[in-house]
Amino acid sequence: MAPLLEVVDVEKSFGVKVVDALCLQVEQGDALGIVGPNGAGKTTLLNLIAGDLSCDRGSILIEGEDVTRTSPDWRCRRGLARTAQIPRPFEGMTVFENVLVGAVFGAGVPMSEAHATPVAVEALERAQLLSSANTRAGALPLLGRKRMELARALATRPKILLLDEIAGGLTEAEVLELVETIRAIHAGGVTIVWIEHIVHALLAVVDRIMAMSFGIKIAEGDPAEVMASPEVQEVYLGVAPE
């Protein structure tokens, strides 16, 4: 069976190559972490997968179907969801309305609000945000906004969830709370691809790590081994190999 997500020889350049001949396979049920220093091309890779940016070369496949030339909304309806690094709620709407938008339009075909409402409620529950459902989204604190990004993504019933530095900017206690939520989401059957600088948060969830530097994959495999490898120690942690 084709992998859930396949990235084949993808390239993107903005004057310089930001993502270079990158290949990646994600199977159903995986939890993949992506690490790398700032400017390594992690967010660009996520944007290429989600369709916010178009690839210069290479292809992106979801369940064996080539989606390289399709729009973000198409990919969303094929089962891909992502959260943004900086949360971007629809500020004028309530939290519930925000999530309802995802529930109505994110599935394969638009569904009626009556059918979408339980989906939105469930997404809010899984993101542990149900108690704030009627808050105006613009008024949420940072952790709430991050949870809303999660809830909105979950409401589209994703097979695969791309998380872009979702733990960034949170306090230590908040990070641990969010990690629990993400673990539960993964345990619930959603495949996860997570970019994160906060390594201990990542290690608590993922079962595989890919390290990137200057758009190139420099290591991939068991999280502990990857983080301990000399290449990663050098480029990511700034420690010269002995």
């Binding site: 916010d52 909304d73 629809f90 938008v101």
Partner: protein, 292 residues
């Protein structure tokens, strides 16, 4: 009493202005799209009604059943085929494209219908009115126009606040990139919005045609009033559009009465002055959201 009458007649006229402004406001609110052909589209709608009424022998009111779907489809198609290429952070491309469209519509109408003024005849109701007092009588046509304007705007507001489609409109209006990530096909949604805008301006055009005579080149003047109503009320705000239209109408009414009583000034002049005053003191409009 004649001043009160001027205000009442102004409110009735304001209904027509609000109806004109609805589509302009919706297109700007949803996709920051400035439609300079909006007035010409109203006139186009009125001419389509002329053809429908003469070909099928229908009453102009009944012709709306055909005119509105035709214009709705035209708006939907134009957005998908042309306008979508101009949608973006910069409103200038939309201004250029719709300026061109306005020229095309005016000349196509001149070719097809000649430069003669036309009217839409709805029979004796045109001159019938309800006497409220000895000095004040309200015409049926202006009253129906106002009622239709309020109904259209109320429907639009309910759609925006209560339905999935309305939520999607608000979502793309706020942040189209994020809306796409939620699975919303924003291009198609823009086409729906433009379809609705065309439909409402067609209604406005038909009511204009019933109220007064019109010619192929009358669009830009209507556009001006529509813009003024939208700016007075606040861009992208539904209730603001209604209030803007009514206020502009009242200004026209009072200005007209000033002209009658004192021999100088005019309705449109006072309307423009009110518009300038609002622009100078509340640039975002009376009910407008502050722009980021």
């Amino acid at each position: 009493m004649e001043w009160l009458n001027a205000v009442v007649q102004g409110i009735m006229l304001g209904g027509l202005f609000a109806l004109f402004a609805t589509g302009l406001s919706l297109a700007f609110g949803v996709m920051r799209f400035v439609n300079l052909a909006h007035g010409d589209l109203a006139i186009l709608g009125a001419f389509v009604a002329v053809s429908v009424t003469s070909a099928l022998g229908l009453n102009p009111f009944v012709s709306l059943v055909i005119v509105v779907p035709v214009m709705l489809a035209a708006g939907y198609g134009l957005q998908l085929g042309a306008f979508n290429f101009t949608v973006g952070a910069d409103p200038l491309p939309s201004i250029l494209v719709t300026f061109g469209l306005g020229v095309v519509i005016q000349n196509a109408l001149l070719q097809t219908y000649s430069a003669d003024s036309r009217g839409l005849d709805v029979g004796s109701i045109e001159v019938e009115s309800i006497a409220i007092t000895d000095a004040i009588a309200v015409g049926w046509i202006p009253l129906i126009t106002l009622a239709v304007a309020i109904t259209v705007l109320l429907g639009l507001q309910l759609m925006l606040s209560r339905t999935a489609l309305g939520r999607a409109f608000r979502a793309v209006s706020d942040d189209p990139a994020t809306a796409r990530l939620m699975g919303i096909n924003d291009r198609n949604l823009y086409a729906v919005a433009m379809g609705i805008a065309f439909a409402t301006v067609a209604i406005a055009g038909v009511f204009l045609g019933i109220r007064q005579s019109f010619g192929p080149t009358d669009g830009p003047a209507q556009l001006l009033y529509a813009f003024e109503a939208v700016v007075i009320g606040g861009l992208g705000s539904v209730w603001g559009t209604l209030i803007g239209g009514l206020l502009l109408g009242v200004a026209h009414g009072i200005g007209g009465q000033v002209e009658v009583s004192y021999g100088y000034g005019s309705g449109p002049l006072l309307g423009h002055l009110v518009f300038l005053a609002v622009l100078a003191t509340k640039p975002a409009g009376l009910l407008g959201r502050r722009t980021e």
